[in-house]
Symmetry: D2
Subunit: 351 residues, 4 copies
């Protein structure tokens, strides 16, 4: 089968013919439909995940994967059968881990995520999944290849939104910083899963314009182009001095944290998502005086991905318009475009 | 001022001229815009609230009230000023009550709800509210008179929905029984505040038809006319054997409880709203085996009403199309129509 | 090996020599130290679990089991090794079940509990556990045989107490009905895991007296012998009219439910534990007016058992003084004593 | 009446005769029994609260106050009567504030805490409380003067512990940093309100020794003198590599945060209590990878104080042995000792 193989940090991916794996035991081989190119792939490529989940080269990347079951191992139950459309939950985990028992595979002790640390991923025609329990039904989705972005970008946005659902009342504001791949999905999820008022922020005019088109916002929701205006003042005017109760920060830079943590009202929650700054200064006293909390999100649980897929199935969220489809051969260009900040939302390798 | 006065149980309301009250201290006089006729008014009229909140006759009923501030007592702060549009939170409560400290005025020890137990309500041109803290801003609402229904029907539906928000995942089903005034609002609220799949049920064809028009449901949501089909079978088919995780029962009869509690999957929640049956048989063992819970709802908290009003302000819920406007003089007819079950949603006395 | 085998409902257990199983794959063979005789064993014996978890005869009962690892299958990881002291979590469950993902094995779709439905239990010298993930470390416990009671009685009490921990403030009362095996453990757990005031109730004088000795209660906690006094009046006097915020009902009869649900203050919670009455009448209106909830508990999660064992290890609960040790040969007598209500707490078969 | 009056930052308190106030309306005059000298008093004295709650001089400090009702205003209900023993909840707040509705007076918009910002406190023979709703019954307490420390130190410790109760399982560890006034109370509260394992840390040998005497810890709980050992290593050894799930940091310095946030396992919670460092660096990426949260606590809610008092009434916590009683005339010395770090727990002015 054809695969994009990475032999070491900062090296070009090589498109090669490699043996098609044969599933045994609980394993399942899937024919890849779509494989998203994620910021984590860029981090891995640059060697920045070394301490978190060290890869073993040569490696086939691609943890954001949808596909169709091709062949199953002998212990796989019959409801997982060739032809089934599936999305891969990629945070592989020992089943008797304490966090696994809470459904939090992504936080278990021994982490071996697909396409990142040990197991090959989906930048290939076929992908071997080590256990059928990592497969979630993707039946009923309109665009299976595009839906691969639900698996990482979508699910992470989902968990981020879940972190603030009980913190924000319907007449309070949620600020979403960064309207790229995760942010645009979070914007949609906050709108359909809560009654809160929304302030979306980005520094690129075209992202603001696209967001208005993709998401059906409600009255009093606003989107702000932070490159054009003083955001603090704009927020004050937009809210009429009302309360900002939560911030979802998909940038996570020292600057965004410094700027926006100050806006929170008492009992406010600041959520930092993904691998932004290595460290940051925070205003302890101001936080204490108002009982401000900080939460963090890395990736999602199995159930969060599964329920998100159902929202997509029912067309409650739009994932199709945030995908640029590319070919496996474009992978090196895709990584470069990502590095240069040229990708508005998500690139997906379609097979 | 003109008022509908009730002199005793089961007697006709008398339209009379009574003195217009003068607010003192913390009191506020409001010019009534709309006053909803609620099932609780019928219960009171029949003497069925005797044990819960005994009325003192003569009494002006009407606890579901919107209006405009007319005059304020000397201690009322300046932000409550003549001309302000307001909705009355009617569950008056001592401020040092333990439940008041949690914002649960509706559950406090000494209950003296407006228009029910001791204080006059809004079936009159003016209404004296005993403290400015019971007033919630209604600025920005399209139809102030109709919006009075938010105050009881709406707020109770809101609290009911809040009881299940954390119990139901996005790919699980909520069943809503009874699509009258409260049910049609709950149907809307479940749709905008959760990602759950919905099954709405009523025994009247026209309610099913109207519900499809009023509420923008998502794919896989269904509405069932229980007078035409076997509901259990219909639910099984609609869900494809999936899970019913919560039931919101706005009927609360022995029959609905018996029928629908059986449908719940493990950890399922059955919510009984309002004054239905006096008592009911429940299947303890079946519940235990699946850890089924029962929750109950009577009325809402202050914040639940306040946040609901904000949803109406932002046009996220439709309250206008569920109101039939009537005149104060129609009150006796209104109560009779309610008793005969002829009211689809809510009647509101408009001034 | 020697085992007590049951060949059908209401038949005497036969003490027989049966083949000692050999563990394969993920299986583990344990040498039984203690096996508790549970009310569920009596229910099973009488045929009352037929609809819940139908047994396949001949069957070795005994789901409440502690022991020492004797031999392991080839896939069992090395930290589970011969000589390890363990307690069995007996609610076996498919690992990809939705409830398993939340750690709620006991609520999964296909239930095959050890010693009840399909797999043999611990009324035998050895017990074959089908997967190593059902074993929890019991190192550091003073009396391994007696500690078997943690596995069902203890864990169920644990989950019951967890159901009310967030419902009761420190100055509010919890009523515990029935101070037998589960109740005496719940009494201890409420005392060490919450600051709530406690009212313990039983109808047997000796249970009241023993409870005072076993549990170190705090000032204002009371134990009431309901056979001697009017319990409602006693509770009123004991609390000085304060609030009963939760009831843990380990009897679950129509009478206890009727008597005690009335005592709850607004937002009160009534927890029914285990297989009591088949059905019961509940006062819907009274519940609605005060937003009373009913919760139910059947058995516990894996983590609840694991954390309970740690409380026992640290001597925060006393399980030793509630165990009467018996021999395997006494099993028929033990079941009869249970049926006649002669067992104060728990009987454990010691090997 | 005799009072200690402060005329400006960094000036000595003057013991003067000032007019005894006369309560009107909802006001209550209490005869002070005990008034604790708090770190906030030192902060205020140094001018460090200027931005948080600016004082108006001359001011009588003392927000941690117990006493006996002396006289009541005309609107005060009869259950608040001369002779009643009370503790003052000092975070005065407008009753229609959004946070007041949740019982979170301490987080309301306009903060005017007793003895800090506008209203006089309890460093005087009598104290005028502006509304009877700020008084909590202190009947049944053994030492009313000493119990004043519950009002600030105790209540803040209580809220801190509440922040982690649902985050820590019984077999997981809580680290408590700083075993002074708040820490020693938190140590007790974690022990009686949770089943978690505890690691207490301080840099003074005598605090470690006293803590062992004051608190009845359970097996596997440890106290570490951080001045003598490498704390990280000691924690690793004490836990046997087990999980630290929460940290309660009563020091809140850059150093404690840096040292201990690293110890948290996935989903761990770091709670910073009170006015420590102005700002601090935090390791964002490490936190994200493990979903670590930071929570902060300033002061408590009304109910948290009320329920804590009930724990003291029932002798579940020891507050008496952490109090050094002083005279009003000693106030300047007391502030100096506090500044020099010579006070082990709390000083209370007794009248």
């Amino acid at each position: 089968m054809k695969a994009a193989v990475l032999y070491g940090y900062n090296q070009p991916f090589k498109i090669e013919d490699v043996p098609k794996p044969v599933p045994k035991g609980y394993e399942v081989l899937i024919k890849v439909a779509g494989a998203g190119v994620c910021h984590s792939d860029l981090h891995l490529w640059r060697g920045e995940l070394k301490d978190i989940a060290p890869p073993t080269f040569p490696l086939i990347l691609g943890h954001e994967v949808s596909g169709v079951v091709e062949e199953t191992g002998e212990y796989v139950p019959p409801h997982i059968k060739p032809g089934s459309k599936v999305i891969v939950y990629w945070a592989y985990c020992e089943q008797d881990d304490k966090y696994a028992l809470k459904g939090l595979y992504q936080l278990c002790s021994l982490r071996a995520p697909a396409g990142i640390a040990y197991y090959n991923g989906g930048f290939a025609e076929y992908m071997l999944v080590p256990h059928y329990r990592y497969l979630i039904s993707a039946e009923g989705l309109e665009d299976l290849a595009a839906a691969s972005v639900l698996s990482c970008a979508g699910a992470t946005a989902m968990r981020s939104v879940k972190k603030i659902i009980n913190e924000v009342d319907e007449d309070e504001y949620v600020v979403i910083i960064g309207l790229g791949g995760l942010g645009i999905l979070a914007l949609q999820l906050v709108r359909i899963l809560t009654g809160a008022r929304i302030i979306g922020i980005d520094v690129k005019k075209e992202k603001i314009e696209r967001a208005w088109k993709i998401v059906k916002l409600s009255d009093y929701d606003v989107l702000i182009d932070a490159s054009q205006v003083d955001v603090r003042r704009s927020i004050y005017e937009a809210t009429g001095g009302r309360t900002v109760k939560a911030v979802l920060d998909f940038v996570g830079s020292e600057k965004t944290i410094e700027t926006y943590i100050d806006l929170l009202s008492p009992m406010g929650t600041y959520v930092i998502v993904g691998l932004g700054s290595d460290q940051s200064l925070i205003p302890i006293r101001k936080m204490v005086v108002n009982e401000i909390s900080i939460k963090t999100v890395f990736y999602s649980s199995y159930r969060e991905l599964e329920t998100l897929i159902d929202l997509a199935r029912r067309k409650m969220i739009n994932y199709k318009d945030i995908v640029e489809k590319i070919k496996l051969e474009d992978i090196n260009n895709a990584i470069e475009r990502l590095a240069r900040g040229e990708v508005m939302y998500r690139q997906v390798i379609e097979f």
